[in-house]
Each structure stands twice: as C-alpha cells, then as structure tokens.
C-alpha cells in the first residue's frame, strides 16, 4: 500500500516532474483552445522530442497536455463560439449563449470546476477498474489480441466517421502502412520497392505527424479568414451554490463520460455529445431552455469529456487498445520507451500504472489553478491568426518528423501523409483509424500468425478456436455484431425500432 502511494506521488514529489506536469497542463489549455491546434497534433509532435527522455518525464508532459487540451477547447467554445477541440462542440451550444449574456466568466469558471470534478472521477475509475480488467485480461490469448486489435480499429472508424465502409477502409490502409518494411518473422520485404529507407519501416510517429499535423494545417487553410467575435469576461470563480446545485448532474455525466471514454474508439467528443443529450432529456425544468444558455448544457459535456480521459486510459493500459486518438499516441510513447501496454503492464511495472494515475490527478489539480486564472492573457493568445499558426505547424511537424531518427527523408514522408490525409478528410474519411491501423497492424499481424501456428495452420481449427473459447467467442460475436449491424436491411430495422 505504502509502495503504491509512493508510485502515485512520484510526480507530486519530484520537482522536475511537477514542473513538466504543470507546463503540459498549461500548454494543453492553450493548445486545446487555439482553433487550428489540437491535442492529437501536439501529442504526436511531442513524442518525437521526448523519446530520449525518461519515460516518466515524457508521460508527465504528454499527460498534462492531454488533460489541459480536453478542457481548453471549452474556453474558445464559450468565448468565440469556435470549439477549440471536437470534445467542446457540445459545450458551445449553451456556453456561447451564456457568454453573449455577459456571463462568459461565470461559464468558464463553472466549466473549469466541473471539468476538474469529471477528470478526477475518470482517474478514480481508472485506478479502480484497470487492475480488475488487467487480472481478467491475463487470460487473453494471441487470437483474442488479434480480435481486440481489429475491433479497436473498426470501432474508431465506425463511431467517429461518416460511414462504416470509410472507417474500415481507413483502418485497413493504416494496417498496410504499418506492414511496410522487413517482415520481423521472415525478413521478407513488404512494399519496400528496393528503398533502403523503407526497409526499416515507416515510424508511426512520422505517419501521425503527417496525418494529424500537416493534414490539419492544410485543411485549416480553408478557414484562414474566419474572424472570431470577442466577448467580455467578468468574474471567473463560480459561486459555491452553483457548484453544489449542479453537482449531481456533474457526477452522472462523469460516470457516463468515463464509460464512453473506456470504450475503444470513442473518446471525449462522443462522451460530451451523449452527456449533453442525456442532460437535455433528464432535466425537467431548466432555468433557461437548452441551446439558449442552460448551465446544465454546459456542465454535462464538460464533466463528461474530462472524465473520458481517465476512461480512455483503461483499455489502453489493460488491453493495449487505445480508447481514443490521444491514447493511441500515448501507447506509441510507451512502445518507444520499450514498454508493452497490456495486462502485464500492471503486474510487471505497477510503478508506471500508479505514476500515470497520480500524474493525471495532479494534472487535474493544475487544471483547476490554471483554469481559474490568466484569462486576460488567454483571450489575447487565442486570437492568434491562423495565417501565422499554419506555417508554424508545418515547421513543428518538420522538426518532429526529423527528430525521431534524424532522417530528412521522414520530413518528406510526413508531408506526403499530410497531403493524403487532407485529401481523405475532404471526402469524409477520418484519419484516426489510419493511425490506429499503423500502430496496431504489426500487433495484429504477430498475433494472427501465432494463433494460426497454434492451430497448426489449419483454417478450420483456427476458425473453430475463435468460437470455442469463451473470451474469443465473446470478441468474435462483438466483431460479427459490428458487421451485421452495418447491413442496410438490419440498419433500417434498428432505426425503426
């Protein structure tokens, strides 16, 4: 117990980790708030700079950026009606009308306190649920991991995109990118076309920087001349009576957010939208109608999206399946540091698990401090024109792509992935499943081959194994369910029901 507490408090007691967590949270608020910058973009670029650092230092910084970034989007949603991040889309619905009524400061203060409550509940759920799930997940075999990997990619594709087919296409494309290079089992070349650079494979950080950084920068060119509408900010610290009044709704939304966040492929944006929807249905007599500045409509999404952060870490740390795009990047950071997220992470490296729990808790406390202060400087910074931000994103992406192996070719690859990502985004494809495919593709490949060797290369035995073992059966059923519910006839029946 004392040992666990020691691990938990690592980042609280080590001055450099304390500063990095604070710095990450502070920077995250701005990154999440500035339209054009995103947490996924920042985290993917940060990995390339921090891979030589101690793992705790890297995680302290990236964890802080994640917590701060999810919250930061709300500030611009309230002040400018521009959600800085997808998780703040629902926040703008009632947050901006509140600001137009001259209550911007109150709205920011309330959203800050509720975000912190949501964030802490999410972390508590991580601390309680992860060890239980990890104990269960030790029973998983190679075929189960293969199935989990496929489900993870498909879930990200189906829940966040325009259509199942587009999500699956993007995920499969990611798997193909992840296959480039020498086959680790047989040393056969795959898609290398005689290039020495390709033989080493495509580092997923380069793909991430391209798909999240460069592609987003190109997409932002469209909105270059959008001018934000400024709001005046009054008192920020919320009244205690307000916090107490909305606490029950905050707790309910936190629970919902944690659950949604824990589902692979969902994340803060879906959690926030569902929590908003739930608040709208369950609030009988709001003081102000929803959409016109109801505080319930501000609180529900804000608690839920921050609670989803802790939730998203649960499948990532216990099963090795990221809960959302940012945890997909953090999983990459763990791989880079030689760690293998999965059920054994908790037994082999409990210090790391409790460090993450302690660090996320600390980041939430920093969020409270930074969230309730410095609003005047903040309003100036978020007005930074996209015309300056976009070229800066390109420069940062170039440094990030180069830094991972000091290879200038990687800058070209990041640019190429950026152009591909931009084109795909224009036609309604999500880039999240591509990145998950790149990261999980090699894992699926290795586990598929292990499972097939275990079945003595007999396809009948392999398929029988998928339905004859309880866990495999459950996962296969989930996969089949995902496909069946996409059949047009079934979809129509579900909609009617």
């Amino acid at each position: 117990m004392i040992e666990t507490l020691g691990y938990f408090a690592t980042s609280w007691l080590d001055p450099s980790l304390l500063v990095l967590t604070a710095l990450g949270t502070f920077a995250g608020i701005y990154i999440g708030a500035i339209p054009g910058l995103s947490v996924t973009m920042a985290a993917s670029i940060l990995i390339s700079f921090t891979f030589k650092w101690d793992v705790n230092e890297a995680l302290a910084l990236i964890g802080g950026v994640y917590v701060g970034g999810v919250y930061g989007g709300a500030r611009t949603a309230i002040l400018l009606n521009i959600p800085g991040a997808p998780s703040a889309i629902a926040t703008a619905i009632d947050g901006y009308p509140l600001a137009r009524k001259g209550l911007a400061g109150e709205a920011i203060g309330l959203s800050t306190v509720m975000s912190v409550i949501g964030g802490l509940i999410g972390v508590l759920a991580l601390a309680v649920a992860a060890p239980l799930i990890a104990d269960f997940a030790i029973k998983f075999t190679s075929r189960d991991y293969m199935l989990l990997g496929i489900i993870g990619i498909l879930l990200v594709g189906t829940l966040s995109g325009e259509s199942f087919a587009k999500g699956a296409f993007a995920g499969a494309l990611g798997v193909m990118i992840g296959m480039v290079g020498l086959d680790p089992m047989t040393a056969e070349t795959r898609f290398t076309y005689g290039s020495i650079n390709l033989m080493g494979g495509i580092p997923f950080v380069v793909a991430m920087i391209g798909f999240f950084g460069v592609a987003e920068a190109l997409a932002q060119l469209e909105h270059i001349s959008t001018a934000p509408i400024k709001q005046k900010v009054s008192r920020i610290v919320p009244a205690w009576s307000d916090v107490r009044r909305y606490l029950v709704l905050g707790l309910k939304s936190s629970g919902l957010g944690t659950l949604i966040g824990a589902l692979p492929g969902t994340g803060g944006d879906i959690a926030a939208l569902l929590a908003y929807d739930h608040a709208k249905r369950s609030t009988k007599n709001p003081e102000v109608p929803f959409g016109e500045g109801a505080k319930e409509g501000l609180i529900a999404p804000e608690t839920a999206n921050n609670a989803a952060v802790g939730g998203a870490f649960v499948p990532m740390l216990t099963l090795g399946i990221p809960g959302d795009a940012v945890t997909a990047i953090i999983i990459g950071a763990l791989y880079i540091h030689g760690l293998k997220p999965g059920p054994l992470l908790l037994t082999d490296t409990p210090h790391l698990f409790w460090f993450i729990v302690g660090n996320l808790t600390l980041a939430n406390l920093f969020l409270l401090v930074f969230g309730l202060t410095g609003i005047r400087i903040f309003t100036k910074v978020v007005e930074c024109p996209r015309a300056i931000l976009i070229p800066l994103i390109i420069i940062l992406s170039a440094v990030g792509a180069y830094a991972i192996q000091n290879n200038p070719v990687h800058i070209t690859w990041a640019l190429a992935f950026g152009v591909i990502g931009y084109v795909l985004k224009r036609y309604g494809f999500q880039v999240g499943p591509i990145i998950l495919g790149v990261i999980l593709g090699p894992m699926i490949d290795a586990n598929y081959r292990r499972a097939m060797i275990g079945a003595r290369e007999d396809i009948g035995s392999f398929l029988f194994d998928l339905i004859s073992h309880p866990i495999s059966f459950l996962l296969t059923s989930a996969l089949v369910f995902m496909f069946v519910t996409q059949i047009p006839f079934v979809k129509r029946r579900i909609r009617r029901a």
């Binding site: 499969a172 070209t412 224009r426």
Partner: protein
C-alpha cells in the same frame, strides 16, 4: 439535439464518385502488391495480413463506390470537379511552398529554410505587410531554436551551405 450516429451527406461532393473509383483501383493495386510478397505459400507468411487488409480496402472501396452511385450525380462530378474541390489554389500554392521548403532544407539548413517558409507564408496569408511578417518569422525561428535546440536538445537538420 446532438446526434452521434454516422451521417453521410445526401448529395455527392464534387468529384466524389471519381475519387471512390480511384480508391477501388488503388485497393486493387495494393492487393496485387500484397499477393506478390509471398503468394499463397501458406497461412502464416508475411503476405497474409497485407492481403487481408488490402482485400478489406477493395471490398469497402466497392461499397463506398456503390454508395456514391446511389446518390444523384453532381454537376461537377468529373476530373475538373475533383481537382477544383481537392485543390483550391491556396492549398496548391501552400503545398508547393512546403515542398520547396522540404527540398531546400538539405541545402540551406533548417533554420534559414524555416525562416524563409514562415516569411513567405505569413506574408502571403496574413497580408499585413513584409515588415511585420519578417519580424514574426524571425521571432518564431528564434523561439524554435531556443526551445528545440537549447531546451529539448533536438538535432535540427543541417544544410550543406549553413550548418
């Protein structure tokens, strides 16, 4: 009320059908390349997962194409529509500028090349005059150098003319 269900636009985007067809062709090529890795030699060879993944791409590509066939044909559905939709002049020029930037890094070195890109891009996109653009570019390059080279100790790409 927010809706988290997947939404597909009712009308085609310009050039969407042609784009879907290109995806199918690309997926077919990817499948052929995957088959060439180890053919059908066994179920645990290096080519199996690439073949499965590219088969998924091919099938889903066909589904996407069929979805576009069900929607009414857009006026600008051909190559011209695709080019106009995908490649607005601003995106083309900016991408070309970035391509030039990537090409000149090995010659000029990272910092001068980045300064050049920032200056040209900010000047062209912001339209607040060359002096302000120059000042912001120099300041940004200075901050990038301090942050990455001095604080993070990241090795920045060097050029043959300026190291």
């Amino acid at each position: 009320m927010p809706n988290t269900e997947m939404k597909t636009p009712d009308t085609l985007r310009p050039g969407e059908r042609l784009f879907a067809l290109l995806l199918v062709l690309f997926a077919g090529y990817a499948f052929w390349e995957s088959y060439r890795i180890s053919g059908l030699d066994g179920l645990t060879t290096g080519g199996v997962l690439p073949m499965l993944a590219s088969a998924v791409m091919l099938v889903t590509g066909l589904v996407i194409l069929s979805e576009t066939l069900r929607k009414p044909r857009a006026d600008d559905s051909g190559i011209s529509g695709l080019v106009a939709y995908l490649l607005p002049l601003r995106v083309v020029l900016f991408t070309a500028l970035v391509a030039v930037y990537v090409a000149v890094i090995p010659v000029l070195g990272f910092l001068p090349a980045s300064g050049g890109l920032l200056f040209i891009a900010i000047w062209a996109l912001w339209r607040k005059g060359p002096l302000r653009s120059m000042a912001i570019s120099l300041l940004s390059v200075g901050v990038i150098y301090l942050l990455f080279r001095v604080v993070f100790q990241v090795v920045l790409p060097m050029g043959s003319l300026w190291q």
